[in-house]
Symmetry: C2
DNA sequence: CTTGACATTCCATCTGAGTGGAAGGCATAC
DNA sequence: GTATGCCTTCCACTCAGATGGAATGTCAAG
């Protein structure tokens, strides 16, 4: 399949696929006689892996490392799983933060009427939001 | 107070404060006879607002819009709250995604032993992760 | 046989959020 | 009075992750 079809299937821009190739995340693909890139199911699953790993919160560099293990014929599982374990605790942290922020936002919304009157609104927002924990977002 | 003190108080780089000023997020501050920027409590709370709003997930542009309402003497609450409402649903979506990803990761970890044997590991990861919903992260 | 959609490469630019560094001014402490 | 540390401006650069555009090639349909 050509680049446009692969891109459509996975909902990415064809440029992005070439970009991943240039970054070493995707191997140099087979070429049709015309010179067009010719992708197969493995390429699709690899790209799907990249996109999934991105959803998991991995950077392209992290994904590249994982893929490099496979390239070298090693079993990546230990490494992958350690990355995943780190991601897991990171995700737990992020979920905790978001849940706290959510509670703050709900509280703010519930007080909308009071906050909406008077000119202390902006400050009210600040005051309320200021109580949010000081943890920073990744 | 001078820029360094303000920066220290809020744990930001002085450059970042000048950057916010250049972006229009902070007003041109008073100046000491020396030409040094001279900040007061309002500046501190405004900067704190910006940082808090960032933790809430707002971009600097969104924050700028909110602050512009205040600048124009309007009560921003309706707007702020609509932004916050949008943020709330976004946060709900992100929490949902993360919870799902978390479950996937836990499942992957639980199967570490099986996955760690054989060379289908990479594919196993892909297969498992591939089941993750197709929603994209913001 | 031309039109249009898609492909190629290469190079440049964008976004978002800063950060670095040079060249110089101010303030304070020894 | 000079060393030190913080301040000023201006310009450039970083990072991640793409995306845009120009110039050109390929291919299927009408």
């Amino acid at each position: 399949m050509r680049i446009g079809e692969l891109a459509d299937r996975l909902g990415v821009n064809p440029k992005t696929i070439r970009f991943y190739e240039a970054r070493g995340l995707l191997p140099d693909p087979a070429r049709l006689p015309s010179g067009y890139r010719d992708y197969g199911p493995e390429d699709e699953s690899r790209l799907a892996f990249i996109k999934t790993a991105q959803r998991l919160g991995l950077s392209l560099d992290e994904i590249g490392e994982i893929l490099a293990f496979k390239e070298r014929g090693e079993r990546p599982c230990g490494y992958v799983l350690s990355v995943l374990a780190a991601q897991l605790s990171d995700i737990d942290r992020r979920i905790g933060e978001l849940v706290r922020l959510r509670a703050e936002l709900v509280a703010l919304k519930d007080r909308a009427d009071q906050l909406a009157t008077g000119d202390a609104c902006y400050c009210g927002i600040v005051e309320h939001a200021g109580r949010i924990s000081q943890t920073t977002t990744r």
